[in-house]
Subunit: 121 residues, 2 copies
Amino acid sequence: MNTATHARQQPVADCQLRAATDLIVHTWDPVVLATLRAGPLRRRDLRSTVGGLSDKVLTETLHRLTDNGLVTRRALAQSPARVDYALTSLGESLVDGPLRSLGTWIVENSEQLMLAQQARR
Amino acid sequence: MNTATHARQQPVADCQLRAATDLIVHTWDPVVLATLRAGPLRRRDLRSTVGGLSDKVLTETLHRLTDNGLVTRRALAQSPARVDYALTSLGESLVDGPLRSLGTWIVENSEQLMLAQQARR
DNA sequence: CCGTATCCCTTAAGATACTG
DNA sequence: CAGTATCTTAAGGGATACGG
């Protein structure tokens, strides 16, 4: 999943596309982004809303998303700690654009996809 | 990357989105699809045009894409063998829709993405 | 409540040699 | 030329226990 590895090769067809897909290849990234689209959430609420991901993976996901500038972290000095996560405008544009495009596409083509999968057997 | 694993969990936010991203998470899938958008290619031409992927990985990629109904394989009875790969209409729609959307988005936002990455250090 | 630290398992993907 | 067969490595992700 290291883009640099591919980039070193000369004739790779479309590195921009690879760079873009790298932003969403991690299992939970798109789900977390989509979940946050409705508004900021505390860590625990995010975890329970998404469901099915461990603390460790949630942490990794949030680090990656904040590192990529898609999500912001806001920590309130309290005890017990309280932390909010929210989409940046960049994150919003990713959800509203490409991710929504993907979602729409799969809904519109789910029938054909099912047929292709059945033909496998 | 097994959707079924996640699907077993109830409250996962957006399984359609997950199903869609599963179609493009494999490193070379989007690149191969984009490459074939210009027209059918023989296996060797596809390999040299894309560049940087092994025979084994190319085979895996093509199997996956054909299994998902995005690419068709046409073998001509010759010696030496000649095989053409081409996009299906489903594959074309994926390239023209969501993948193009991704490519456009990253071009338009590359500057912000670069800034985010620099801030990491 | 937020986050880290381990341990384990599975799989993607690279490299290479070989067959029809 | 098309495709298979191994072997190897790296990394994502799950589970869980622990610390601030």
